[in-house]
Amino acid sequence: MLINRRKFLHLGSLATGTLMLPKFLKAFETPAHAMNGNKVLVVLQLSGGNDGLNTVIPVRNDIYYRERPGLAIARDKALSLNADAGLHPSLTNLKSLYDEGNLSVLNNVGYPNPDRSHFRSMDIWQTASNSDEYFNSGWIGRYLDAQCNGCSKPTQVLEMDDMLSLAMSGDQMKGIALRDPRRLYETSQDPFYKDMLEAGLHEQPEDPGSYLYKVMAETLSGADYIFQQSKLRPSTTVYPNSEIGKNLKTIASLISSDINTRVYYVSLGSFDTHVSQQAKQEKLFNDLNDAIKPFTDDLKANHRFEDVLMMSFSEFGRRVGENASGGTDHGTANNMFLISGGLKNKGLLNEMPDLSNLTEGDLNQHLDFKRVYATVLNKWLQADDLKILGRQYEHLDFI
């Protein structure tokens, strides 16, 4: 049975007579579009610790070639960015974006006292904590809290996955995770849920029971809303059949709809290349490279590329020296890609890693990732970065 959104909202309106209409349902009655001009952030998580040195390659650095006799990428194979740096040979479409001025690179990004456990370091990146702090909420979740105080529209933040990452989990609000708008819609539209909601919806946010009903209501109406939006202007561009391809296609379709989503989150991995790195990283980069072209083409065709910023990160980089298994082990600082038609500063935005100045064989970070977050929150999403991050970080000027 299909329950259309209008009917669902009508149900909410009916309730006003006898019950108070919960604020979080009201939110869906007055659409707040992320219309043209409204900026959208797409976070690309390279899970597992991508090897930054074989991503943006220091093609003139003797130490790099000395430390990686088996893994180093030859200068003439790398896609030249400038005299000192080249991109991984698989990233041809990223190289084109770079040449157009739509891709910038931040080098040496990290945080003090780096942690080499995947989970812990990912936690630090997702919660925007220092390495000796433990936060229970993620930075994008707290953005949702700040944007949505009392309005409760979790569709502002969507993750392309079956499970919601900590990054999207706020103290009050949580984003929605989905792999496929239709599947989310179908699983959530069991009439049993709707009937329970109708009977059980009441507004006592402090009570855990009411919290469950609130999440259920947001999920049901959110799933419906996302599904309707995904059908509005679905992308007709051909994407590769990979997971990242499907996810970017869904994101492109939603971006060209009237949906209120401001942040999309998508992951690619695993980049944990302890063994036979060359083949693994190449495969993942091919997937990324093949998916990014139709995605940016879509955005350009819909005149949204100026409003969309894609930002990549990984929980850590890898050690400078290769290991004995044709791979690299967990390291520290890493690079980030910034992809958008609206970049103010283009190209390589800071110096390449200094391989002669390492700490126990690892790169030193020169740029706290929280400065990048602060910049994006403040300048791109027009949010209160101090409130969301809890500290004031100096902004960068790439946007």
Binding site: F119, Y134, M163, L164, I176, L212, V215, S267, G269, S276
Partner: protein, 487 residues
């Protein structure tokens, strides 16, 4: 009908254990909560069976290397280390399942429930089966004993020493990780110690290490035996002295009691009650059994505001279903997929602070999944969700045997839950109950909170074709409600 006692007894079963077992249905309304508590306590005081899920390969390797001195893990050949790691991943899965079975079947409900609490309090993740099972066995042995013994043993466990880098804590090169978490998370709590306390106590723990077998190993030559000052005490303080000084602070009793109250009673703390409990806990010399007895035999524990006020953790939710619905799970590893999808993988806490719990368990994905699972279990149906990778465990080895197994179990999501529910056994519980009262009986058995949808509204989702199918479908539907997430 003494429904009041029934509700109280169920409350006790959910908080002091993993929910009422199906077999208790008929006595739930007859027993006095205090009598029930004492029977649970008595069963929980027995010494626990030692869990050993480690593969002989690992034991042989480790025991065969006894000649190797302390901290000589580095002397293992790379392939030996890799074998330990790979085999550990499989063995820890078995340990996980072993513990879930214990939680489900053991009469020592309070001991296992307390152990799960301490497992989150003393959160560690090592991916070494010997270390993980040793710490769990320590915790289960002391779960209801004395907090002083528990703290001392955990602090000297290989698991904690490795997880918080104390093997690297050496004279002249202190590593403060353990000292800091000891105070922030394990004993006294944030705001009650200074950075100097962290630095000074880290020096006292220098030389605390562990050997390959996982035994505590004190290394005098790495120990800083200079003068330290900690909480006003000055001298050549040892690690044991530091633990003693922390335990001599009443704030430690307050911190632990407050956490226990939030976990076992209500997230909204009643300061007066917690202060009184903390004083008694302190005066008893940290007797955990006595503290839990005061809580579960108090009248305020059974106050309406405490009943149904908590969101079940994924493990409590899953074990609770198994206790209420007798079933045979043909692919027990599928439970780990659920743990992962719902955010509570045993032996893999998010960080040293453990699982934050409460509302943090619930987002749109986890709630919808929890509400769908009872239907899926009943049909042995496929679940389409896939958990995220765990790179700490997989190490990018997707093409290797270990990773193949993991991926197999990950994709096992596609045919999750080959279960046989013993409906006959379950339905027997309702013998003697009139058809017209069945709904109420099942509802009162399963739920701790009033469900807004009434029997009439639920009726269209119920298979009325026979008494059996009616009982089945009411049960499955009620387990798929928001109320069933609460206890």
């Amino acid at each position: 009908m003494n429904t009041n006692n029934q509700l109280k007894n169920k409350h006790l079963w959910w908080r002091a254990g993993f929910g009422p077992p199906a077999t208790e249905v008929t006595v739930l309304s007859k027993q006095k909560p205090e009598a029930l508590f004492h029977s649970i306590l008595k069963a929980s005081e027995k010494k626990p069976d030692f869990f050993d899920c480690s593969d002989p390969q690992i034991k042989d390797l480790v025991m065969g290397n006894q000649f190797m001195g302390p901290g000589k893990m580095g002397l293992l050949k790379p392939e030996e280390k890799q074998m330990i790691r790979k085999q550990s991943v499989l063995d820890i899965t078995r340990l996980n399942i072993r513990w879930l079975n214990e939680m489900t079947d053991s009469p020592a409900q309070l001991r296992e429930k307390m152990s799960l609490f301490w497992h989150g309090h003393f959160a560690a993740k090592t991916i070494n089966i010997l270390y993980d099972q040793d710490l769990l066995n320590t915790i289960r042995e002391h779960a209801l004993g004395n907090f002083r013994d528990l703290l001392m043993n955990v602090s000297k466990s290989a698991s904690m020493i490795q997880f918080l880098n104390n093997n690297q804590n050496r004279k002249g090169h202190p590593n403060e990780n353990f000292a800091r978490e000891l105070m922030e998370l394990f004993t006294i709590g944030r705001g009650h110690y200074s950075e100097t306390d962290v630095k000074e106590s880290a020096r006292a723990f220098t030389g605390w290490g562990t050997n390959l077998q996982g035994d505590f190993d004190f290394r005098p030559r790495q120990h800083d035996d200079g003068i330290k000052t900690f909480f006003g005490k000055t001298g050549n303080l040892s690690g044991e002295d530091i633990l003693g000084i922390l335990l001599s602070q009443k704030q430690t009793a307050r911190f632990i009691t407050g956490k226990i109250y939030r976990h076992f009673v209500n997230e909204q703390v009643d300061e007066e009650i917690v202060n009184a409990l903390a004083s008694a806990f302190f005066d008893s010399g940290y007797d955990i059994r006595r503290l839990m007895t005061s809580i579960f035999t108090s009248s305020w524990f059974y106050d309406q505001k405490n009943i149904g006020s908590q969101i079940k953790s994924p493990v409590l939710w899953m074990v609770g279903i198994r206790r209420q619905l007798p079933m045979e799970i043909q692919n027990p590893a599928a439970q780990l997929i659920l743990e992962r999808l719902l955010g509570q993988v045993l032996f893999s806490p998010p960080n040293v602070a453990g699982w934050p719990g409460g509302k943090h368990w619930i987002d749109s994905s986890s709630l919808m999944l929890r509400m769908q699972i009872p239907v899926l279990i009943n049909r042995s149906a496929a679940i389409l969700s896939r958990p995220k990778d765990d790179d700490d465990i997989m190490m990018g080895m997707k093409d290797q045997a270990l990773a193949r197994n993991l991926i197999k179990s990950r994709n096992a999501g596609a045919q999750l839950f080959q279960t046989k529910i013993h409906w006959d056994e379950y339905i027997q519980n309702f013998n003697g109950i009139k058809d017209i009262d069945i709904y109420t009986a099942i509802r009162d058995l399963l739920l701790q909170k009033v469900m807004p949808m009434n029997e009439h509204e639920l009726a269209k989702y119920i298979d009325e074709s026979s008494r059996e199918s009616r009982i089945q479908s009411i049960t499955i539907r009620l387990m798929g409600t928001p109320e069933y997430q609460l206890c």
